[in-house]
């Protein structure tokens, strides 16, 4: 083995050790645990085969959690993408102090989700919140934002949209700014209107960035937990219980570790299915290396 090659391995070794101990091993551990029935309280463990999986897949509340999660993902991702793209198109038209405004707009995505959820909880408050105050001011009746089954999920979605629209905005803006201006200039010379150049130049060129943003936001919203924990506690009933919340409940409130582990494996499979295009794309194109040497 060449000396340089040995050093290369030495460089990646610490990372490989971390991955092996803290992600590979835990994943195997979770898969194995999923085949056992473990009862912490009575300190009993027995092999359970696929029984956990069968119980989860026939549990109605699990499917409610799946439904809530998918609804959450679709609503949040669609609106974040639409709003973020609109913001980016708007900012790309050029402003004085653009950089300052851009920084202001990106702030929400960097804040702790718990802090964000707490602020919104305050604003959603039935008696003292600003939203109901505004509704009452214009003569409408107040809404139970977080405690009615009709509104709770939508309220959490809105909070997520507020926090994560900036991510879409940022990526799309960067992508817009990488489009050479000459293309637009020659389109203008040919007499294309703004809408036409948007339709035939901008959107096609944005496609890769849009696809990536959609996928990353899907992966990230699929795991949503913090906001439910603070805003609704999964309620009312289980109107805002997501898959992560379901697993947390079984793993750390009822201490049914095997059952929770099996549910988390089901969740992994779902996420993998959702991100097949992403995995394909990254593995297909990026060699992680700029120069072949």
């Amino acid at each position: 083995m060449r000396k340089a090659e040995r050093l290369t391995y030495l460089f990646v070794l610490p990372a490989v050790v971390v991955f092996a101990l803290l992600t590979v091993y835990p994943l195997i551990y979770a898969i194995v645990t999923g085949f056992y029935k473990i009862d912490f309280i009575r300190a009993k463990t027995m092999f359970y085969g696929f029984q956990n999986y069968a119980e989860i897949l026939t549990d109605d509340t699990f499917w409610v959690a799946v439904k809530n999660t998918l609804l959450f993902v679709v609503l949040a991702v669609v609106f974040e993408t639409l709003l973020g793209t609109l913001f980016a198109l708007f900012f790309n038209s050029g402003f004085r102090f653009m950089k300052l405004y851009r920084t202001v707009v990106l702030v929400p995505m960097l804040l702790p989700p718990i802090t964000v959820a707490l602020t919104w909880k305050m604003m959603y408050d039935y008696n003292f919140g600003i939203f109901n105050f505004l509704l009452k001011t214009i003569g409408l009746s107040p809404v139970e934002w977080l405690s009615s089954t009709d509104w709770a999920l939508l309220s959490v979605v809105l909070t997520d949209i507020w926090q994560w629209t900036p991510f879409v905005f940022l990526v799309i803006l960067a992508s817009l700014q990488s489009i050479p201006l000459e293309i637009y200039e020659s389109a203008q010379v040919e007499g294309a209107s703004y809408v036409q150049s948007l339709r035939y130049i901008t959107l096609p060129l944005l496609r890769p960035a849009l696809a990536l943003v959609l996928l990353l936001r899907t992966i990230d919203t699929f795991r949503v937990f913090d906001k439910m924990y603070v805003l609704t506690g999964g309620g009312p009933g289980n109107a805002t219980e997501t898959i992560t919340y379901y697993i947390y409940r079984y793993g750390f409130r009822y201490f049914q570790t095997g059952y929770a582990a099996a549910a988390s494996i089901i969740m992994v499979i779902m996420v993998l299915i959702l991100s097949i295009p992403y995995i394909k794309q990254v593995i297909g194109t990026a060699d992680f290396q700029r120069n072949a040497n």
Partner: protein, 284 residues
């Protein structure tokens, strides 16, 4: 001739008006919740629960901050969060930059598998690892320690750190290193004396990003740490909501405290941070 000119002027004026109106709406949308928290953090208890919310505290009070620090032990909580986030960031960035350098520059066996695994850890939901890591930490006697959180955060920040850093390393031309190697420097010398200084801004951006992710993390912190003395900021904040009452005032003050370090980083490092956030996304 005058008439169309005038209407064109009017149209331009109207356009500018709507553009700035839209800009103001976007800025208000982005800032209002933070402003509202700041506003509430300086209100006294009576004003917080008045039927007509006030947009500025009529009587500015520091009582919320005082009770946060003296009754709720928040200085301890902030110290915990800083200790955990800084330690995990430091380790993740050191380990990550070594790995990222290799991934950016060399071909080696197992590289593809490593790359795919990094991608997969980015995709896997954190809740999948929470049960096994909980058991591992308990068996290692690390339950209810800050070390457990540091380890967990290293594991989750490392893929992000490597991903970002590979992109930063890729921006440095290989020729510089090659000429240094020709001059007789070893790989380690080339890395530490030539590559590292060049990639420093990227390292800083990655470090800030990892710090923010650790600072913001909630689920692991809540599950791994039971004693309030060791709690991190998000956990302590969520603890201010109980079934019977919510401590809105101290909660707003604590929320502001949780936001300050992030805002400092954003102001200091905005360009690099934005670059780091969009790099992988635009290219990959």
């Amino acid at each position: 001739m005058r008439k169309p000119d005038k209407s064109r002027q009017a149209r331009a004026g109207l356009k500018a008006f709507f553009r700035y109106l839209a800009l103001i709406l976007i800025l208000v949308w982005s800032l209002f919740p933070v402003y509202w928290m700041l506003n509430n953090s300086f209100k006294n208890r009576v004003e917080q629960f008045s039927a007509v919310p006030t947009f500025f505290p009529h009587q500015i009070t520091l009582e919320n901050y005082r009770s946060l620090f003296s009754n709720l032990g928040f200085s301890n909580v902030i110290a915990n969060s800083f200790a955990i986030s800084l330690t995990s960031t430091l380790i993740a960035v050191v380990i990550g930059s070594l790995a990222a350098y290799s991934l950016s520059r060399f071909r080696f066996r197992g590289k593809r598998i490593l790359m795919i695994w990094i991608l997969l850890t980015r995709i896997f939901p954190p809740v999948t690892f929470v049960i096994p890591i909980y058991s591992i930490m308990r068996n290692a006697g690390l339950m209810n320690t800050r070390t457990a959180l540091v380890l967990a955060y290293i594991a989750f920040n490392l893929p992000f750190a490597i991903w970002m850093l590979v992109n930063f390393f890729n921006e440095i031309p290989v020729e510089i290193e090659e000429s240094s190697m020709v001059d007789g420097a070893t790989l380690y010398q080339t890395f530490s004396r030539i590559v590292l200084p060049l990639v420093l801004p990227g390292l800083a951006a990655t470090a800030i990003f990892t710090f923010i992710m650790s600072w913001n993390e909630f689920m692991y912190a809540m599950i791994f740490i039971q004693s309030p003395k060791l709690a991190t900021v998000p956990v302590a904040l969520s603890g201010l909501i109980t079934e019977y009452l919510v401590l809105w005032g101290p909660m707003s003050a604590g929320g502001i405290m949780s936001v300050i370090p992030i805002l400092v980083f954003v102001v200091l490092m905005q360009d690099y941070l934005i670059k780091g956030l969009t790099l992988g996304a635009v290219k990959g």
